[in-house]
Subunit: 372 residues, 2 copies
């Protein structure tokens, strides 16, 4: 079954949308944050724990899985869902972002991108067709087209020619896509920080009629207000009857601001990455757990949070686990941070329902502290 | 409530005993293996998972907790159980073994042991009184006397004077012990590989009337048959109405052989340590999961095991997790290895019940492969 987006209601206070994405592996209530499982595992977490904290969909990574363990192996295993023991929807990115992040290790041509593996230096070539072939083998529910994520800053002419290639690649991806009945290929709107180029990209891709659209090339180093400006000019150009996905965004403030500007889906390694560094997101802002001031703090991490970590462990214990390099510390903070973001999205959905998302933002920021 | 040992039955095929240790935190069915949580966490595992695999009691480490986070901090936190979120019994060793393992970093005198921390080189002194004070602060259900674990090999005169000091220290520990109502102090029989010295140590300690007795100074590098010989001559000297604990033993073959010779309790870091190195204990022997032959092996780790890991993941996936340095791999193998040993102990108890432990050993070894 192809994916469909059901718009339930629009917030009267903002551009936010409450919706449902219907997939063959269940319904995704939007707006939603998607935990990232780069290498076929959301770092430190078991699938049951992801369900416990109400993850509706997770993301995995084409570039990483292509290199290790290889998409053919995962196909033989019965697909990515079976391989990693996750029966809810999976979104795979196209590998474009990772390949372009390789810098000197890659060479772009019209045909695709030649690059060297970050693991062993071996030479590889990913074309739009190859990116689709890999994702078809993985069997993800939502696939992404192979795009070029232009750097920030980049001048107009570069961004323009880059987005036009992204459009040509999107067409090739669409043509190469084999499992249209079971897998849904999303387009990625590029165009850097230029409103007119975003418009051009959106129009060209909408023409290709993808079942959903992402915004790429944002959260790549630009100031947040600039990202919000791009969202404000671009989301109104995106189809109302299809999901809108802002790639690589996961800070609480940017999630709220993104939703306010009409975004339905987000993903980011931020919550799990900072967790492994010992930083927790809490209702009163960030907590750096190794800080000496928590040595004898026997209270929970976030007194307003009712997650497993906050109900059962003190800051002093969590600090001890991090000081002693114990894996349980990584687990407990990853669990909490993901819970925190998924709970935030749940509260955002509730606020949209009640047409009070701007009030919610105000209350949230007063406690959390705004981060631009 | 002081701990009591209830002897349920003796195996007609061997010296094995089926029993129950009654503690204020519940009943422990023996023979039992105790997972080790050195730094107030059984590495990679959450307490709920330890319960899921039926851990009845876990072990923690006086030396490590004294250095980090400090026993005073744990006392302020409400004791070790509350600190680490574990409400079943905890056994703490005395720190003796760790301190003696420091080699050049420690200096033994009649008063106690002066040593330098392995963490920061700071100077410390642990006396029998101090070891008890620390364990009283931790609030463990079973405490161990501060003993000297003589190395292997060691000559008779050294071992004799060492065990005699251990007896003197045991007396001092008993006198220093403050919470006799809620915490139970076990004696540790030393004497190296010398039957007459083991006898001397056993007699001296039995005289002191501890609620349980351990055998220390075994599994320290001697051949396994020699350890079994020591067990054969020593366990008959130990009280029948008290638990017998063989310290630091956790290989499947040694657990079975130990039980056959009358041991009730075991602990070892082996199952979790080898798990983190990618080695699983299975009913057909050890599996080194990174081995290339498992690359496309889509079967479970151990087809005869019904643990969470074996039910849900393939060898190929576990191998991928280890190759990709993913924490979930450490978790899944630790979970399996502990499950494997706890299940082994359950089967051993069942075999004692049916007076067929020697038959069980034969069947087990035929599949597992004997390791001397």
């Amino acid at each position: 079954m192809a994916l469909t987006y059901e718009l339930i209601k629009e917030c009267k206070q903002s551009g936010a949308r409450l919706g449902k994405i219907h997939t063959s592996r269940g319904i995704i209530e939007t707006p939603i944050f998607m935990p990232v499982g780069t290498q076929a595992t959301v770092k430190t977490m078991a699938p049951e724990e992801l369900k416990e904290i109400k993850s509706q969909i997770i993301l995995s990574n084409t570039y990483h899985l292509y290199l290790r363990p290889g998409h053919h192996l995962i196909e033989k295993a019965g697909g990515l869902h079976k391989f990693m023991n996750w029966d809810k929807p999976i979104l795979t990115d196209s590998g474009g972002f990772q390949v372009f992040s390789l810098g000197d290790l890659r060479k772009i041509s019209e045909e695709g991108v030649e690059f060297r593996s970050h693991l062993d230096g071996s030479k590889h070539f990913i074309s739009p067709e190859k990116a689709v072939e890999i994702q078809n083998a993985l069997g993800s529910d939502i696939m992404m087209v192979f795009d070029e994520c232009a750097p920030y800053p980049a001048d107009t002419s570069y961004v323009k020619s880059s987005l036009e290639r992204t459009t040509r690649w999107a067409k090739r991806c669409k043509e190469a896509h084999k499992n249209t009945e079971t897998q849904n290929l999303f387009g990625i709107i590029q165009g850097g920080m230029y409103a007119d180029l975003r418009k051009q990209s959106a129009e060209e891709l909408i023409e290709l009629d993808f079942p959903g659209y992402a915004l790429g090339g944002l959260s790549v180093g630009e100031p947040k207000p600039l990202m919000y400006e791009v969202l404000e000019t671009t989301t109104p150009l995106m189809p109302k009857n299809k999901p809108r996905y802002l790639m690589g965004v996961g800070s609480p403030d940017a999630l709220i601001e993104g939703v306010i500007r009409g975004i339905d889906m987000f993903d980011c390694v931020l919550p799990t990455r900072i967790a492994r560094n010992g930083t927790a997101m809490t209702s009163h802002g960030k907590v750096v757990i190794k800080n000496a001031k928590y040595t004898e703090n026997f209270e929970g991490l976030d007194l307003e949070c009712s997650c497993y970590t906050c109900k059962n462990y003190s800051k002093a214990y969590l600090r001890h686990l991090f000081k002693a390099n114990e894996v349980l510390g990584l687990r407990l903070l990853s669990y909490h941070n993901l819970y925190f973001l998924l709970k935030l999205m749940e509260e955002i959905r509730e606020a949209i329902k009640k047409d009070r998302l701007l009030d919610y933002r105000k209350n949230f920021f007063e406690k959390y502290g705004y981060e631009v």
